[in-house]
């Protein structure tokens, strides 16, 4: 983990209430896709944990949804402004854990970390397929970005306005995979774990105090003992999750 000031390079709305922000600065503390950053927003006491969508040597891309006053303020910030950020938090996904054909599943604002993971799996020579689930067409993010990577990308929407009508588990038919990675709402993660025969990794969300393991604000029980979502997670193995 490092702390630093990051310059906003761009901040644009890409779907209903969802923004893509690119930040410039040191990314050396990021060790795995699925990690997150913790952003201090002026006027708010606690930092806002946001998953890393993608990164390179000098930039970090995040997607965030405006759900409260803090993220609303973040959405109003302009290129050139700077943010105090803790970078490289959490364990992240393990791209080594899968075979040649991993399945990546993102639900709503759980989609972003799947993108950085997908790029790294491709770089390793693996052949991931992707299912993204949203409430409606207006909520869909990154469908084109995944398709540009050349991976099979299926969309499910609850109201059927785009792709398969229903949940991500309704869009799995005919896909062959040997492992899965997922991030999204807990009911989706639960349904997915029930619907899959393979092992996999799921990323959780919880209200956090510090984001780096000090306050015990986000502890959950697992089959392998108590885990802090911020430090020992946010990614847990399918086998250890207690639903």
């Amino acid at each position: 983990m490092t702390q630093g000031f990051y310059e906003i390079l761009s901040n644009v709305m890409i779907a209903k209430d969802i923004y893509e922000m690119v930040l410039g600065g040191d990314t050396s503390a990021i060790t795995a896709p699925g990690q997150f950053i913790n952003i201090k927003i002026a006027g708010f006491y606690l930092r806002r944990p946001i998953s890393i969508c993608d990164w390179d040597e000098k930039t970090i891309t995040i997607l965030f949804k405006t759900v409260g006053e803090g993220t609303m303020r973040l959405s109003e910030m302009k290129a050139g402004e700077k943010l105090d950020i803790l970078v490289g938090l959490g364990n992240g996904f393990n791209p080594e854990a899968c075979g040649d054909r991993p399945l990546l599943v993102g639900g709503g604002i759980g989609t972003p970390p799947m993108y950085g993971l997908c790029k790294r799996l491709l770089a390793m020579g693996k052949k991931p397929s992707v299912i993204l689930g949203f409430a409606s067409e207006c909520d869909v993010v990154y469908e084109e970005k995944f398709k540009e990577l050349g991976v099979e990308t299926r969309i499910a929407t609850v109201d059927g306005s785009r792709g398969v009508k229903g949940f991500v588990t309704h869009a799995m038919e005919g896909l062959s995979y040997d492992y899965f990675y997922a991030c999204g709402p807990i009911p989706m993660l639960h349904a997915l774990c029930d619907a899959t025969d393979t092992s996999g990794e799921v990323s959780f969300e919880e209200r956090m105090g510090c984001g780096f393991g000090a306050c015990m604000g986000c502890t959950c029980k697992t089959k392998y003992g108590n885990k802090r979502i911020c430090r020992d997670g946010p990614v847990l193995k399918k086998e250890e999750v207690i639903w």
Binding site: Y45, L46, R47, G70, E206, M216, K221, N226
Partner: protein, 304 residues
């Protein structure tokens, strides 16, 4: 000007008065990865109980103006695991006497936990928390009456020769009388304030934000309450005071000491800025110079 930040707390000299508060610093390792925590005066480790505790269901955290509510509920591995696993690990990254923070649900439990931690050489002080607002049937209920506070103090005094500091709750009508009761039963120091009992409600769900419904309010918002209570307790007792509540800067440390604190704990600030204590310690000599303070220990209670 050559400044001296040393203070002596209950007979143990500290390089500076800055102490990360229990529950905001774990057992130190997360911070030791970021900076050399030997710069600290000491630190108060995660509140320890006789038996392992998972704590409360989540959400345990809610944001507030200039602060936060927490209802962690004393999650800890229990005193035996703390002694077997955490303290040996801590010994590798922290080489000063540490403050052991103890909580409990009965007098017997406080006694047993204090007795076990007293036998540990690296434990410098024992800070007995009779003020946790986030557990039911224990914690704060011992700290809200002078009689109950005196009973716990007397009981743990009998089993430890280590400096004994009693951590008080601000959720009381007369903090001075409770401090005096602890002093009368042999406490070597008083630390205050624990968090202020609070609640926030989710407007959409029409339910409390915290699963525990209530939580403890900490952060800069509560600093004036803390300064007032430290000031009141300083007038009431002769034993040293560890002041805390919203301390985030070197200026806050000095304010707390002027009110009467010998040492100062830093809590919520560690969670927002993991380097908070290091920065406060580095900043102290400059702020002392600004306010013409040569020896930090000279200003304890100077506002009276």
């Amino acid at each position: 000007m050559v400044t001296n930040t040393k203070v002596t707390l209950c007979g143990i000299e500290m390089d500076n008065p800055v102490i990360p508060a229990s529950g905001t610093f774990g057992f130190g390792y997360e911070f030791a990865e970021l900076y050399d925590i030997n710069c600290l005066g000491t630190f108060s480790f995660k509140g320890t109980t006789r038996d392992p505790r998972f704590g409360n269901p989540t959400p345990r955290i809610a944001e507030c103006p200039e602060g936060m509510l927490n209802a962690v509920g004393l999650q800890n591995p229990g005193v035996d695991a703390v002694i077997a696993n955490e303290l040996p690990k801590l010994a590798k990254c922290f080489h000063k006497p540490v403050m052991a923070n103890v909580s409990g649900f009965s007098k017997e439990e406080y006694i047993e936990t204090c007795e076990k931690l007293s036998a540990i050489e690296s434990v410098g002080w024992i800070e007995v928390n009779i003020s946790c607002p986030n557990v039911h049937g224990g914690g704060m209920s011992f700290g809200t009456s002078a009689q109950a506070a005196a009973d716990v103090t007397k009981a743990v005094r009998a089993v430890t020769k280590k400096p004994l500091i009693i951590k008080l709750s601000p959720n009381v009508t007369d903090i001075a009388s409770i401090a005096k009761a602890c002093e009368a039963e042999g406490a070597d120091g008083i630390s205050l304030i624990n968090t202020l009992l609070g609640m926030r409600i989710d407007l959409r769900k029409r339910k409390p934000l915290l699963a525990n419904k209530t939580g403890g309010y900490s952060g800069p918002a509560i600093k004036p309450v803390a300064v007032r209570m430290v000031y009141q307790v300083y007038d009431a007792v002769k034993i040293p005071i560890v002041g805390m509540g919203g301390v985030s800067t070197a200026e806050d440390v000095i304010e707390m000491m002027l009110a009467g604190a010998t040492a100062v704990e830093v809590g919520a600030a560690n969670l927002v800025n993991p380097f908070a204590c290091k920065e406060i310690i580095e900043d102290l000599p400059h702020v002392m110079e600004k306010y013409n303070i040569q020896n930090l220990s000279d200003i304890i209670g100077a506002a009276h």
